[in-house]
């Protein structure tokens, strides 16, 4: 056994569930996630048989399609030591909601529970499982952090990103008012109830503005695209990025919003 093989043997094998939005809209977040996981000592795999976690179907009440998608995800990922997603919402779907889809089907329920136990949201996985304290990144920025709802309330993610951001040299965190209040995205809600969603995100963007930050971060691309879309529409130059990009020191890609264009 060579020394690199010995090292690999000790490394936890992580399946990266990129999430559909990261996969389609912002691959940079995927690469930032890979870097953070590898730096933390993980062996990262990206199974190709991944599409979406099934939330659009789940939250529309379509249990049959949700279950089929869940089976597909479990089959593709259950062989890994951990399954990690750069999104509180999708990670919570895998971790908290999958087992319930199989209620009454003992074999699948057990399989889903074993799978769910290994699922984590990226940032909390780094801090709570891999015990990362400092990602070694540096960035001169006044940032404000939005707590996305599912991550916050279903997975208890609040301090973890702040701890890591606190150790990014040059970063100053400026908390916005009501950082823990919904941005109005809510998956299909934002198109089904477009006017209400707009009222909610308008409030959120107001709080981002008054925080005095020049960069908005969050851990969920859906929320980020919603807030970025509103900031852009309003002509704001607040830069919007996924927190993983900053923690990985990968901010060369143009932001989701901002930089004045």
């Amino acid at each position: 056994m060579t020394s690199s093989e010995a090292k690999a043997a000790r490394q936890p094998r992580v399946g990266l569930f990129a999430t559909c939005l990261v996969d389609l809209f912002r691959p940079s977040v995927g690469f930032a996630s890979v870097k953070l996981l590898q730096d933390a000592g993980c062996e990262v795999h990206v199974p190709v048989a991944q599409t979406c976690c099934g939330q659009p179907a789940y939250n529309t009440g379509d249990r049959a399609d949700t279950r089929e998608i869940a089976e597909q995800v479990i089959e593709a990922f259950e062989g890994f030591d951990f399954i990690v997603a750069p999104s509180g919402s999708c990670a919570s779907m895998l971790k908290k909601h999958y087992p319930g889809l199989f209620a009454g089907d003992a074999a699948w329920e057990e399989r889903a529970t074993a799978f769910s136990d290994k699922c984590h949201e990226l940032i909390s996985f780094l801090t709570d499982v891999m015990m990362v304290r400092d990602t070694g990144a540096a960035l001169e920025a006044k940032i404000t952090y939005h707590d996305s709802c599912s991550g916050l309330r279903e997975l208890g993610i609040k301090e973890q990103p702040r701890k890591l951001l606190g150790n990014v040299s040059g970063v100053e965190v400026r908390e916005m008012t009501d950082s823990d209040v919904c941005c109005g995205f809510g998956g299909t809600f934002c198109v089904k109830y477009s006017d209400i969603s707009n009222a909610i995100v308008t409030k959120k963007v107001g709080n981002i503005d008054t925080s005095g930050a020049d960069m908005l971060l969050a851990g969920d691309l859906g929320c980020l695209m919603n807030m970025a879309g509103k900031l852009k529409r309003q002509g704001s130059d607040v830069e919007v990025r996924h927190v993983a990009e900053v923690l990985a020191g990968m901010t060369s890609q143009p932001p989701i919003a901002g930089s004045g264009k």
Binding site: R63, S194, N198, A199, I200, G229, Q253
Partner: protein
Amino acid sequence: MELTANKFKANASKALVDAQLQKALGNVEKGFIGKRQKAADALPEFEALRDNARDIKNHVLAHLDLYLEEYERKVLAAGGHVHWAETAEDARRIVLEICKKAGARTVTKGKSMITEEIALNDHLSANGIEPVETDLGEYIIQLRGEHPSHIIAPAVHLNKEQVEGDFRRVHTHLPEGRDLSEPVSLLSEAREVLRQRYFAADVGITGANFLIAETGTSVIVTNEGNGDLTQTLGKVHVVVASIEKIVPTLEDTSQILRVLARSATGQDMSVYTTFSTGPKREDDPDGPDEYHVVLLDNGRSAMLGTEYQDMLRCIRCGACMNHCPVYHAVGGHAYGSVYPGPMGAVLTPSLNGIDETGQLPNASTFCGRCESVCPMRIPLPKMMRHWREREFERNLTPAVARYGLKAWAFFAKRPKLYRFGVSFAMPLLSLLGGTSRRFHSLPLAGGWTRHRDLPAPEGRTFLQAWAQREALKQETEQ
């Protein structure tokens, strides 16, 4: 009230551009949230009390028949009467009969959502009996011919200038030059007017926050004392309450009381917590000659044993709507039902059927803030999702959403086909995004782009880019 739950979207759009309403709604966010948080933080056992409260109600719901019978026995033993009402119509008829028998011309009312649910005021008025709301908020909306927009703050949708206008319009016997610029002057004027009504009323009708099986007691919590005057000054006191208000013992009641006011208004306790057991006894200095309880089912027993049973733990504190971003945006009337906000979005379909109310459980971002503050730990988002499932099963989901979802699911369930499709679509969409890297409008994405830009995708999908990177790495390693 007329159910307009399925006009929620249209109601909401109107509410969003109603400047008066939007101004008033600011008070919900400012008034309730911080106070609840402070009260919860000040009590180290608050979370444990929430667990206890949940467990007490779960126990009651598992043995509801036994506790209801025990409660009835105790009410009868105390000299009261118990009336079982299966439907809203039954309850209206029973209350009217009691009022007629008492020869009532006017009745005073304590604040009660259950009498809103059975539309009691309209029924009494139609039968020549005048109902007088005595809670300040209820009194105001009665003057305006409106319904409560919030379960504990019925007039929260109004500003004080609007109330001043109503008082001047209705209280024409008072001097024109009086000062009504402050809430306190509005309150004292309402008190003065209402004081006369208490003495004139023949019957007092209240709801109940709890019905205690151990003692046959009904409990109301108020901040104005109007409920006490309503139930002690009339010759007859009628309690209208739904069957899930039962708690086993006084001790259980005090446990739940400790989370109720804290969750509702941030008070340790509301100003008045009043226990009523039967009519006036010989040695009592005051109290009604007759004490009636109308126990309303109206669909609740059908919720037992279903995935909606947990909703019957609700103690009507209003914390869910106080913390709901959707409620903050549109207010309570937009829901078009007796019960607004997250608790209404779950309960209304149970009471009125999902066909007529499907909009409500859909109008949620599932942010979960309601569940996080519910003193009874009711999983509100989960139950809203269950309602969406019932809709989907019965093809009630709007066609566009249904077919859109089905088309998406077709691809999401076929990773290879999905990969093939998105490997062309995303780079193309990225190109279309141009140098501004965003879309101001996009076909089929109007719901999104009406109010915000759509950030353009970067180009290749992550899985495409990853596969290329891995292939390159293997090449260089070889």
